[in-house]
Amino acid sequence: MNALVAAEAHAGGRQASALDVHHFRAFGGALCSVLAVGPDLEAVSQVVAEVYAFEARLTRFDARSELSRFNACAGPTTPVSPLLEALLRAALAAAELSDGIVNAAVLPALVAAGYDRTIELVRARDHGADAARATVPVPPPPLAEVLEVGRGWARLRRGNAVDLGGVGKGWLADRLAERLTNAVVNLGGDLRALGDGPEGLGWTIGLCNGGSVAVRDAGAATSGVGGRRWRGGHHLIDPRTGRPAATDVAAVSVVAIDALRAEVLAKGVAILGSTKGPPWAQARGAAIVRVLCTPTLPIPAETSGPA
């Protein structure tokens, strides 16, 4: 933990408040952080512990997780915890908001594209192997056609599986930030800022294009194909084709009312591309859209850590 105390606000002569910064890694090695002003340190510690509890319950890379067991028993109605129920509902809401562009049912397509283990293991496996995978397109069905959610139960149509990664991080950042009154919870780029920040001027958030914005109550998320890539593919599946999206968006940052909406819209822009994506996101509540384009982003050929 780093304890930073800014000397004095640069504008208006405001006295800065103590800022506690916690960095940690979760969600497959993604850099996460909690920045909080004048917090109860016990509350911050609880927040960090809950990130790990969340990951343990909802990771798809552990067969013992609740999500893995839910996917494995697709077909009949299944009892689910309040947490999984909330995330499944959030996935349905994300699909509706995005007109199906953000579809949690892409998991079989994601696996077919090669993302069948943690990104570090995918890159290690593909290092030196054939660059192109013989992937079979698996366009997912509309999520609302295969997933039902009720109070304490859910039902996934047989033959389907869901991945709650992006939606989960956005949802979690929102819930945890609400626990701290003046803080930023950043979960691998999906972040929620609440409060006036350490100097009373808002929280300064850096975006993918190098620019910064000051926010008081907002979410931000960055998506794109510049992160989780491997030889022959990347993790953003276009549900219209079942293949990794053919997009010119290396990274896109979206600022919206909360982290979940920002995450959904950022992923949508990344899939739709730099021409159709930004107006699509703005029509759905994006306050800011910043795109970093690349026509020929190289696929990493060597093992490296997550971006």
């Binding site: 969600f27 952080s33 920045l35 509350a43 609880q46 512990a49 809950e50 509890a53 319950r57 109605t77 299944t78 009892p79 915890s81 309040p82 947490l83 129920e85 909330a86 509902r89 959030a90 349905l92 809401a93 509706e96 908001l97 609302a144 056609e145 039902e148 959610v149 009720g150 304490g152 139960w153 039902r155 956005g170 819930r175 691998g188 780029g189 972040l191 929620r192 808002g202 929280w203 300064t204 958030i205 850096g206 910064s212 914005v213 000051a214 926010v215 008081r216 109550d217 907002a218 979410g219 931000a220 960055t222 989780r228 290396a250 009312i257 909360d258 979940l260 909406r261 800011i288 971006a307």
Partner: protein
Amino acid sequence: MAVGPGALKLAAGLGTAAVIGVSAAVVAADAKPAGAPLKPPVNGVSAAAAQPNELASAGTLSIPVTPVCQRSASGSGVAAAAATARPTTAAAAALDPAVAAALQQLKTATTAQQRQAVMAALTPDQRMQVTAYVAAHRASRNPNPSAPKGSCRGVSSTGATGSSTVAPSVVDAGPAAPLAVSAVS
């Protein structure tokens, strides 16, 4: 010809009775609109209120949403229908007893310190379950807290859906060094 007071009183009474009688006849003969009741029914139950409600069954006060909002806020397709329905086959998951007890304690907690004490006694996983449960109840009570009044669309972080939101507080920060960075992961 002189008229006595008694005769005048009698004439006035007869005149009044005649006016009242004519008025009553006119009102009785007036056609009333067939489709407009003079007052709304007071014993009937509205269709929305008569529908099954999960919160009501859970003993929680709830205000039924209007049919229009219910249709829009709960999405479409089978998932939307299931979102407000009870399980049809298997039983729903039973709450962890510690989570259930914490939810009861949170209902009666009146200060932030009391709520924090309740949460502190739980494991991180149990705190997540409580957080999710509370968020779900909040979303079901208010399907779209971030949308302007009158809108049935919007997506909130609790999972409600729609297209309209309140704009976030955000301004360009220029060259200021960021405290946090949203980067692709």
